[in-house]
Symmetry: C2
Subunit: 443 residues, 2 copies
């Protein structure tokens, strides 16, 4: 990997998400060598990916070059790499660009979509965890409407204009709201020769409430908002299959649709080579102690989505959200500095829950703070302010803010561009892979 | 195609570039049915593509949805389609989404890269005529530097950091200037562990001046600017081959490079089915008369890059630039309206040359106007103002302006993101195509 051996201890961080970046910033100014590996050369602000999918924001405004975040630190190294396996006995990781020795290893690999073993759904549904995936969804939504114009079959038209979102967490709810606003504000103007009133937005949820994990007040209000926008909410319904045309559920309910968006769950993106038997919980996360140390290892840590730290308050681990990753990244940074440089003992991590929020549409958001809960226009402004605040990069903030102001005033979303057609890409890859859908990687 | 038959005459326009859009705007408010076909669902502002390739602008800010440009006209139809052939005897075009009858057909298909028959260069070089192509180049430039970090071979490092641009028209010159600014301002910060001083930017030109077609004053000044920025200019040199590693020329000069950017020429993007024998000139454009009517046809017109209208002032046709396309689009619009609605005779087209300009870098541009020629900072401001003015969409203008101000103040270009790695895509396509490089279409 061409990284010089120095007298400083080497900390290798895998993953440049919220946790990895927060940790790297803490460590890079210290007397240690920090190596960050990621398979992208940019940090992705995942909470706004759904706005990329729905044409409200350009992808480049929610991504930020990792090299730039850390360019002022001379002991910091970034490498664009896919990690293949960890050899803990040799303190070495193996990657597609060669091996690397470490003194301390931090797994900040985040999470990936959890299909709960359903290969058919995995092969046919859309997901939204990375920028290319969000762009694929944007292309597909637009390609669907272009195709709907061309067919005389009402059934096919309906399938192309029917969107089924599985999972009513923040991602599912926010996406449903955005699609409903597109249906209302943009489709009638863009497709006057298509009866876009027949477009349907469905959100399917296995439990009996949406935004599970938020207050019942927030959940109820979000449901009202979605209904106002014309979204169909199906609770207590579990999607069981999707062959690319028909969605089946555990009830009598079926959907004919060309687009299933799977936002029903995530799982830890674990790394091979770390003994899974003892330390991986049901959500596929590495079990860590209070100092984020992976159980059974002395020099390997895990933070954020891929870490499962249990406590009385969080018997199944912390929620898999950005705030936990950021706080664990900062905390582990302090612990490592104290431990490595001053040989001080580590302090246990405690999560400070600053609240949760979700937005459904213009002037429609729900906010749960530890002391206050509120909904509506003020909540919507708070949501926007918080997201702008956490977005990395001044230019990104200005561009996102400009888009939001424009979209708000004009009821518009101008980034509705099919830059790389999704159907064509998928067809080419399927040909190439000789119809082995489980291996598809669209990046 | 599901386009209703009405009592209005139907004008079909192929291509949503500068000419097609200008024409459609003129016609759509009249008593005629206007159908615009394009293979993208957006209009591309091509003059700024080089800033996308070099991370200065996000692609979405120079693209604009065609449906949105014309959404207020009830007789306007857009279809996302690839035109396959024209059957002039039947007044019908055939496309990948079915056939369509026309009363009048306007070819506004623009131009594509001209490799002058060199298949090897076509298979191995990068081009920059569409948004996906510009993004591929952006990815490749960044992938090169990431790869250069990993190798111990000085030769390979040099090849990865060596950029050869063929053609010193505005595109080549502007790209060379932008790469030189990246070398100076960004590489040392992003790649401190790489000796980026060794990066080379070469521009190769077969003639004895750069910016051919502009004044000798502008050409000389642009050359000075490029030299100030450290660009190597090779005049009177013709590139003869490139196998992916070695660029050969008609002189002793060779380059070892991983990146050849071909900006040496364009040719008309003609449409099959229109008899080529009589009406295609050496630059592959349809010969048209003073009213933009294609020679030998009564109801088929051509405008912009694909049209060749000769006159005393322009014995080989007009320059293939946006201004000609816009003026011909507007003019043909007026002619068609007069002719179809009032049966008035058409007026001949005359090109009003408003001038030419090119920018090399910050505060460095050259402007030739009919009466004044100037260079430097003021020219640079004029260049920016004119480009903002012609960019379609208020939001796009604000976002582009924001980026320019930011880039100017910070000496930065933040969109240096590898969203879709180019090398991986190319490898996959080559596998799929079983090494038939001439068929590669990366979109």
């Amino acid at each position: 990997m061409n990284i010089p051996q120095t007298s400083y201890p080497r900390v290798v961080i895998i993953g440049g998400g919220f946790g990895g970046v927060a940790l790297a910033k803490k460590l890079a100014k210290q007397e240690m060598q920090v190596v960050l590996l990621d398979k992208h050369n940019y940090h992705t602000f995942q909470p706004l990916l759904y706005q990329v999918s729905t044409g409200g924001l350009e992808p480049d405004s929610i991504a930020y070059p990792i090299r730039k975040i850390l360019s002022k630190y001379p002991n910091f190294y970034f490498r664009l790499a896919n990690v293949e396996t960890v050899d803990a006995a040799e303190n070495t990781i193996h990657t597609d660009i060669g091996p690397l020795k470490y003194n301390y290893l931090v797994l900040a690999t985040g999470s990936s979509t959890n299909f709960f073993g359903n290969k058919e759904i995995e092969a046919n549904s859309m997901i939204m965890k990375t920028v290319p995936e969000a762009l694929n969804l944007r292309s597909l939504i637009l390609e669907n409407f272009e195709e709907a114009l061309l067919t005389d079959s009402i059934d096919r038209q309906d399938a192309l204009m029917n969107f089924v979102i599985v999972g009513a967490g923040p991602t599912g709810v926010e996406l449903a709201g955005a699609l409903a606003e597109i249906k209302r504000g943009i489709l009638p103007k863009d497709y006057p020769d298509l009866d876009t009133r027949r477009a349907q937005i469905n959100i399917v949820q296995s439990g009996d409430m949406i935004l599970k994990g938020m207050s019942s007040q927030a959940s109820k209000k979000a449901e009202d908002y979605l209904e106002e926008l014309g979204v169909n909410i199906w609770k207590n319904t579990r999607v069981t299959g999707y062959d690319g045309d028909l969605v089946t559920t555990n009830t009598d309910l079926n959907f004919n649709t060309a687009t299933l968006i799977w936002a029903a769950g995530v799982k830890g993106e674990t790394v091979k080579g770390i003994d899974a038997k003892d330390c991986i919980t049901f959500s596929n996360r590495f079990k860590v102690n209070n100092f984020n140390k992976v159980e059974g290892y002395d020099t390997i840590f895990a933070i954020g989505d891929v870490a499962c730290m249990t406590s009385e308050a969080y018997p199944h681990g912390h929620p898999m959200v950005a705030q936990v990753a950021i706080q664990q990244g900062k905390h582990l940074g302090e612990n490592l500095v104290n431990f490595i440089e001053a040989n001080k003992s580590m302090k246990p991590f405690t999560y400070k829950d600053k609240g949760t929020m979700a937005t459904v549409g213009r002037n429609k958001a729900v906010v749960d703070m530890p002391k206050y809960k509120f909904q509506g226009m003020f909540a919507w402004f708070v949501w926007m302010f918080v997201h702008l605040f956490f977005l990395i990069g001044f230019r990104n903030r200005v561009v996102v803010f400009t888009n939001w102001v424009y979209n708000y005033i004009r009821f518009d979303r101008e980034a509705r561009l099919i830059i790389r057609p999704y159907k064509k890409q998928r067809a080419a890859l399927l040909r190439e892979l000789d119809n082995k859908p489980k291996d598809i990687e669209m990046s």
